[in-house]
Amino acid sequence: MPRPIGISKLTRRRLLEASAVAGALQIASPFIIKARAEAAIKIGMVDPLTGVYAAPAQNEVTGAKLAVDQINAKGGILGRQVELLVEDSANDVGTGVQKTRKLLERDQVSFIIGDVNSAVAQAIAQVTNEKKVLHIVSGGHTDTITGSDCKWNVYRVCNTTSMEANSISELLFHKYGKKWHFITPDYAFGHTLQQAASADLTKLGGTMTGNELTPLGTTDFSAYLIKARAANPDVILVLPQGGDMVNCLKQIVQFGLNKQIHVAGLQQELESLEAMPPEARVGVWMFEWYWKQPGVPGVDKFVADIRKVNGGKVPTARHWFGYTAAHTLAGVANQEKTLDSLTLAKALGNFELAPEIKLQPNKCYYRAGDHQLMTSAFVGEALSQGKDDPEDLFRVDEVIPGDKTAPPEDRTGCKLQWPA
């Protein structure tokens, strides 16, 4: 029998059943949450635990969890225990915003950490700004977060795109040559990287022999590589990320290009190097943090602590981001003896990280003018095989302090607007 329009078939019983089902789904959640300690101070963390950034996001969470355990062992924040509530942003802006509202409105968290994805991080920052909650961006690199879109309540741990470019440009220029050729992924992030690096190149007096824009998901880079070789540059800069980068590097090695031209890139991560076949691990890169730093206090203990909770694997820069973000919040709150976001946000300007938290040789502090952490860049070369440890895939040549790589405060475009 054809059914004209569905509305007509609703009855009371059906509706009661439906609302019972919907109700049961709703009821199931709060009791688990409420079973936790009432008096704990809550830190909310929003990160893309599913999707393409799942691996780095998971590592940030592991790092933050370790920090929270350490904070609690030392008496917590203001004598209260700390609880980390983690939500999955699923690498989607809408979900990230919704999860942030959930943490702020329902769970009443005092602080927010997140997100790996720059777009999600900026969208979340709008929510935390509206709710006046202190927010630390752990892993989104776009300049605007601490640039033209900076906010009084938002600080950032990881580098900006400009800092990454600046850290490596000078070294490449003086050590490897002044003619550069770019392989750039054709979307906003790639364009920003390329512009930052080519601006440095122009300032240093070098020339760009070409810029190959490659669509996202390119598997065959041969046409671009042939063009790059014909242009005869000193350095070829590989800017694609993830699977595209692996394909590009593999083909560079197959072509023997790395024997004729210096291969380099900007940011490289241990997660990516480990996922690559050994033959693709070539080139000069910058790491935002590296686990092997002989003689730097606290690093060995941090590596050992992470190994315990990370299936025996060493920490990556992402672990350090999560760890530092959580420790920053606890540190500044204990220093100021308050949870008030405005006081804490003001106190974080020029706040310096303790040696057991910064885990790097140089001074590490949040800049007051743009809220960016002045963290070091670890510049060096990728190794195809680890020497002492299978995960030692990078040789650090230079550790450049953050205030050398960051553009001056007045050039970031950041104008902080503090609430009245």
Binding site: P2, L15, Q122
Partner: protein, 319 residues
């Protein structure tokens, strides 16, 4: 019998609207939060627009996220570049989504079945890549930002929908109610009956002299207007528009909500969206494998209850 059915129908409607109207009051004690209710409403409107085509005209569009995303960008552009006015942004979003649907619909309607679905995906992805690549206008992968919903100005008084989440919920509910009322009226009109005739037996409808292509085109266009409105509301909800809202995987989510709730049922997609959003919100806090559970539920629904949740409930009480 007739009278009884009518009163049952009215009671059901009254219950749905009572639940929606009181949502901010009953959600919080049950562990929800108002913003979750707002999201359910917006995605439900989108799923109902998909269902307007899928359930009542019988054609499956897998690229409807394109018009959803265009609505979002339309609203964002209006707020950012034209004037800081919430109603204007809704109008611009709805128009952008709807007009794009009207233009492309004219090209698509001659296809049927899987070809129709394929062409809608293709056009959807065209918009996705435009938004992704045109960084100077759309912000590309970083998304369009720098706008926020504005207080509603009624001359004598104004309502702050930016920081008051309950006020924004009722604003979205008002838009949802208006859109759903129009949708219901269209389905009850002779035009709506012809749509159902096409769904049931296209060849027979053609022999009866119904201009099939024109009807499907009109249905497609109307559906895109509703989609544009949903997208515009989504942009206001997030104060953000990003290319992922245009992606075909987003279209897939909408189809899933419609099918899960009951695709031949007017209110099915509302239930589907509620289940989808609440399940995602709840499960993803517990496990990173939440997608497997949503996926398994979907597979189970399609295998055992092809008429969806509301379809099952409807059949059981009819028996």
């Amino acid at each position: 019998m007739k009278a009884g059915e009518n009163s049952r129908k009215l009671l059901a409607l009254a219950l749905i609207w009572a639940a929606l109207l009181l949502a901010p009051y009953w959600m919080a004690p049950l562990g929800g939060y108002t913003a979750l209710g707002t999201r359910v409403l917006v995605l439900a409107l989108a799923a109902m627009s998909v269902n307007f085509l899928l359930g009542f005209t019988g054609v499956l569009s897998f690229g409807h996220a394109a018009y959803f995303g265009l609505g979002a960008y339309g609203a964002g552009f209006a707020l950012k570049f034209l004037a800081p006015s919430t109603p204007l942004s809704l109008l611009c979003g709805t128009l952008l989504g709807g007009l794009a649907g009207a233009l492309l619909g004219a090209l698509i309607v001659r296809r049927r079945g899987v070809y129709f679905a394929m062409v809608t995906i293709a056009f959807g992805q065209v918009f996705y890549y435009i938004a992704f690549q045109w960084s100077s206008l759309t912000g590309g992968d970083d998304g369009l930002r720098g706008f926020s919903r504005q207080p509603l100005d009624f001359g004598l008084f104004s309502v702050d929908i930016l920081s008051n989440t309950d006020a924004f919920y009722y604003f979205v509910l008002f838009c949802f109610a208006a859109a759903v009322a129009v949708m219901g009226l269209i389905l009850r009109s002779p035009f709506g009956r012809s749509m159902i005739a096409i769904r049931e037996n296209e060849r027979r409808a053609r022999f009866l002299g119904i201009p099939i292509e024109r009807h499907i085109w009109i249905a497609f266009t109307l559906s895109c207007f509703f989609m544009g409105l949903a997208g515009a509301l989504y942009a206001l909800l997030n104060n953000f528009a990003d290319p992922r809202g245009l992606h075909y995987s987003q279209s897939g989510d909408f189809v899933m909500m419609a099918v899960m709730g009951g695709m031949r049922n007017f209110w099915g997609p509302l239930l589907g969206a509620a289940v989808f959003v609440v399940l995602q919100d709840y499960l993803s806090s517990i496990t990173v494998n939440w997608m497997s559970f949503v996926g398994m539920l979907f597979v189970a629904m399609v295998l055992f209850f092809p008429r969806g949740l509301l379809g099952v409930l409807a059949r059981r009480s009819a028996a």
